[in-house]
Subunit: 319 residues, 2 copies
């Protein structure tokens, strides 16, 4: 049975019609990988008919980027994102991808899907390139203030994610400004102690890590509060963009080396962030929502579905 | 009159003799720019004699990288760093550069030099490349927990720094995870309000900035707590190192664009961090302390001395 992927088309910078066309293209390029339910406006689907592989759900309501998340969730009961989340809750779809308002997506996940056992709040997981394998960063912006308990939950979330990517016993580290146990804030020192004493054998806690060493590929999972994690992610993206700009200025984009670099630096190649910790597979597609970003989000959703991410995470949380 | 630059040779990863040799080379390459007082071990100066331009101060005591800063400062009264700080206090030298323990350097500055009026604690200022001009980041690691008051002080420090670099009315922004005033932590929201209402006309407060936009060169000064600032700086450095590694792997080191990128990405080309806010010019040279890093620290010290950085900062703090 193919996974059914829900895609919320509204509320992003990209025209919703471009996103629908990307879905149609995906079905051609990756046949028999998934079918779609798309949530959009009547405009999004103009001249299109629902098919077995691409079902169109129309609505007039949209949660905008600038909307206050909680108000939007309370008032916009027929928004495309809300309809998608409800179908995910009712298991009519197997995953939901949205390019829209992250805060609203978080609020809807928590309200509709409910957190998994032993999870207090969902977190955002992003995957970043290193000199070796990609590293999973939890949290990249869902929880600005994260307690030591929450940071320990992030370790479980990151572990389940990396296990789905084939890493058996992920190396987990705390993002910090030095490696010694006493470094950083009080919360980080508490989390360090908790992670050292944990009974969870699904991962190996390797201590604190500085951002510089993250890119050497020394660990598989980075645990961090949502503020620092977001700074970390956006700094990495920013440097990437600056260098791409530089390479273009130098007219070196056709040199084979720079093609390789450009690929590594283009964050639209990465599948956005996984919203993890609730009873459902939710992916926040990258803000700019370029077609390539959506395709990568879909592929990631299919992979996580096929690898039973939610079951793995639940199993890890019970330990 | 030439500025007299003190250089603490001990406690870094680099052999102290290499650092002395760099000073001698500097005197050849940049004649009539500065004279030096070097603080090292007898080994550092083997076969060398003090001259008018390079005075050697010998000691057997050294503050190591792994030393607890406060203990080291209390117990090692004859350490090279301590001797240097005392000569700076007594105005026998005009600036002090150290490649050693940052915590000890901070503690010594606060104890010996005392903070400037209206400054509660010194901060570390680093300069980073952007698509346009360099941006000054305050604080990159001196104050893990920074109150809103402290963040406002950082704005003055960054402003005085940029004014010495020729920027008349620097654009100052708060590093945050979104641009709206309500974004981020409670402390950041408070600092936002304080900076909006400030009477200080030496800078223009332009609101919150995300790391990504920093690299587009949209602002001259970034204000941030020492934890986030350190994460920001080390992430930027880490990505730079990863990409240099990549380019080398691809054997593209001879492409002209590579040379350009290398220059921008090599953080040893940057002069380390200015320790600002006390009665004295103190520069923390980059950890690896390569000769090029030391030379750049010296040039920065000379520039800040010639531009009367301390006077400019004091004037700005009185407003």
């Amino acid at each position: 049975v193919l996974p059914i992927i829900g895609v919320d088309l509204l509320g992003s910078d990209a025209p919703s019609r471009e996103l629908v066309d990307t879905l149609a293209l995906f079905l051609e390029q990756y046949p028999s990988r998934a079918s779609f339910v798309a949530f959009g406006s009547p405009d999004s689907f103009l001249g299109l008919k629902s098919s077995d592989l691409l079902q169109c759900v129309e609505t007039d309501e949209e949660i905008h980027m600038a909307d206050d998340p909680l108000k939007a969730v309370r008032k916009k009961k027929r928004a495309s994102m809300t309809l998608g989340m409800e179908m995910l809750k009712e298991k009519k779809i197997d995953a939901l991808i949205s390019c829209g308002n992250t805060g609203a997506l978080l609020a809807l996940s928590t309200l509709k899907l409910r957190p998994l056992p032993n999870i207090s709040r969902p977190a955002l997981v992003a995957s970043l390139p290193t000199q070796q394998d990609e590293v999973a960063v939890v949290d990249v912006g869902a929880n600005i203030n994260s307690s030591a308990d929450l940071l320990v939950e992030f370790a479980s979330i990151g572990t389940a994610y990396k296990q789905c990517m084939g890493v058996q016993s992920p190396r987990v580290a705390l993002l910090n400004i030095g490696t010694e146990p006493i470094k950083g804030t009080k919360i980080l020192r508490e989390a360090y102690e908790r992670l050292t004493l944990t009974n969870d054998k699904t991962f190996t806690f390797v201590g604190n890590i500085e951002p510089r060493d993250v890119f050497k590929g020394k660990v598989d999972v980075i645990v961090t509060d949502g503020f620092s994690g977001n700074i970390f992610l956006k700094t990495a993206e920013g440097i990437g963009e600056m260098l791409l700009f530089d390479i273009e200025q130098q007219k070196a984009t056709h040199h084979p080396c720079f093609e390789h670099l450009c690929k590594k630096l283009s964050y639209s190649k990465y599948p956005g962030a996984l919203l993890a910790g609730c009873h459902g597979l939710v992916i926040k597609c990258h803000g700019t929502a370029k077609p390539s970003a959506l395709v990568n989000s879909i592929l990631k959703a299919i992979q996580l579905y096929n690898e039973n991410f939610l079951d793995k995470l639940e199993a890890s949380l019970k330990k």
